[in-house]
Symmetry: C2
Subunit: 375 residues, 2 copies
């Protein structure tokens, strides 16, 4: 069972072996050489990169080549709304915001409000739209530059998207979609067509601005498969291949082995951006999978295992300070830090982050229109 | 070979047996009983109906039931632009205009400018758009009421259409699309999705006006297959099933047995709405398949065969006067009327029609915006 895992844009299950995934998806390891080249432009290496949270890429080397020639890129990422945003969703967006700041880059943020409708039973387009605008608050709360960021719902920007999606769709056979996504004849024709709607923003500004602009997509690794198709199509349409920077998933509270990523549908294993301090406290205390020992005595003697401890793992995503994190790691491993204490460090960290996020999230209600792109 | 024919929305070939087609497509014969019920509202029976040019239907009886209860319907038809309009294209539109006049009905006229792009090699979306606006001139020239007629290009109305198309698409599997259209895994995902874009106008006003309005679609019989899918989907979406009134095809100049319908791609066998009198004369004289005999003497003796004579067949579409038509039929059959004379009657008829059409077509250039619906 340890080795069995599934990663598709619609399903992530099992204990993911990310090294295997790199091979399986045919993507590249994001190595130090690339990070050093990036650092020449950014001045620093984001801790998501240092810690291998963003661990893989496609064509990021081409983005760096372009940068070295003075050529800019734009950013593209997205969110398919189906419910509230949890802290796992924020990871690629936090990184995207950092990239925007460092490179003064334009960002297209797609909200494919038809995707979950097409792929899920009992989920309405109206619900998708309601969640879309709730989720947009979380996006804006992260501090994206309104002058450089365009957010759009697919159904509200369809006049632009649909026509361009047809260019993509013409080049993708059902046979290709089957082998790429594992679809069968029982999937609906909307599911098949959908990937072409996700492709469009990867070359859209090139069309809009009539110039060769390279697209860089920071996202979780499960999404690269869409852009693999986009790359095949882009060349024949005369556009550059979109590049990706790919991250791993924040595990759910029940741990890495229990589930591949945090899931909104198992609400007790996820921390939502709207959770209050007590909810965060109670969920972490009750459900966070512990790498500690059965008794305090045993823990003091043998120490804990940070590699499987969810609280520690989460801190690798949320504690920016390397020194602090190392001390937590070492203290936990030596048995000096107890599971309850470690959990409390995480709770304090999350609640501090969420308090600020929630304040910005409320403020965002009046800022939505500054960001929206509609036909 | 006589019995071999193919009728799909994308291919019409062979000598079509329309009685067989009714069974094959699972549609109904448009019988006199229905025409008599219709006449109570229209006061007359259009000669396309009397002559079996419109010969089949689905759910037209339901439209009549509704009418008898005082409930209105709206009309929907379309044109996929890929080149100039020929006189065969006009047949369902002329009839649609008659229905609009008789019932003061709203008409949605879809111009799916992505369809031919998706289905044809070497045909660009830009060309489709260019032809769309050329074709719209022909539509307007037929005299549709600008207050009751909305024409839209799919790419320009996609904000409304795409979202609604997703409702349809979710209910149609690839398996269903394969068995309905004869697609394989080699067809592209845009071809598969397309039918859902053609479905939408069959229930769109119901959405827009939030009331139960029945849709009646006058079209050539090859299109019914799209609406068969729409009917299956409509019920589960809570909309009434769209009704169709189905016509046969105007044959090409080379005759009924040579080709199932007039084709723009074989320009010498088609009369375009922009052809000048000399072109019409020359094409008919040179190419119109004759039911006459090899020599004048033989023709005088044995008479001609109006059933296969293209000039006569075309006159059944364009000569409104039953008495005149019967005389032509009888004179040709008896040998009194020679092929050259019959051709001249057709040429005069067509050139008179086209002269007026072309004048209205030029005038239409200033009227386009009165008709267009865009997001």
């Amino acid at each position: 069972m340890r080795d069995k895992f599934i990663v598709t844009p619609w399903e992530v299950r099992g204990n993911i072996d990310y090294s295997k995934l790199i091979k399986q998806f045919g993507v590249q390891h994001l190595d130090n050489k690339l990070l050093e080249r990036m650092k020449k432009h950014t001045g620093e290496v984001h801790y998501f990169l240092r810690r291998g949270i963003f661990f893989a890429h496609m064509y990021f080397d081409v983005i760096l080549n372009d940068l070295e020639k003075g050529k800019k890129f734009y950013l593209y990422t997205g969110r398919a709304p189906s419910g509230p945003v949890h802290i796992g969703h924020l990871i690629p967006w936090i990184f995207t915001k950092w990239l925007q700041d460092k490179f003064k880059a334009t960002l297209l943020f797609e909200i494919p409000d038809e995707e979950k409708f097409l792929f899920k039973d009992n989920f309405s387009m109206d619900d998708a739209k309601k969640w879309a605008y709730e989720n947009i608050l979380d996006i804006i709360a992260l501090g994206f530059d309104p002058k450089r960021t365009k957010i759009f719902l697919n159904t509200e920007y369809a006049k632009t998207l649909y026509k361009n999606a047809c260019f993509v769709a013409k080049k993708i056979t059902v046979s290709t979609a089957k082998s790429t996504f594992g679809f069968t004849d029982s999937n609906n024709i909307g599911e098949y067509f959908y990937t072409s709607m996700q492709s469009v923003p990867a070359f859209l500004p090139t069309i809009l601005e009539k110039r060769e602009t390279h697209c860089l997509i920071p996202c979780a690794i499960d999404q690269d498969v869409h852009f693999r198709l986009t790359r095949d199509v882009a060349i024949s349409l005369g556009y550059p291949k979109p590049a990706t920077l790919l991250c791993r998933f924040l595990p759910g509270l029940q741990g890495i082995e229990h589930e591949g990523k945090m899931s909104s549908s198992e609400s007790h294993t996820a921390i939502f951006t709207t959770d209050d301090p007590k909810q965060v406290h109670d969920k972490v205390m009750k459900y966070a999978y512990s790498g500690g020992q059965a008794t305090i005595e045993e823990h003091r003697k043998k120490g804990g295992n940070p590699d499987v401890d969810v609280s520690y793992q989460w801190l690798t995503f949320f504690e920016e300070n390397d020194k602090k994190l190392k001390k937590i790691h070492d203290d936990y491993k030596s048995g000096k830090l107890l599971t309850g204490e470690l959990k409390q460090i995480l709770i304090d960290k999350l609640n501090k982050f969420l308090k600020e996020h929630q304040a910005r999230r409320e403020k965002a209600r009046n800022e939505i229109e500054k960001f929206m792109l509609r036909d």
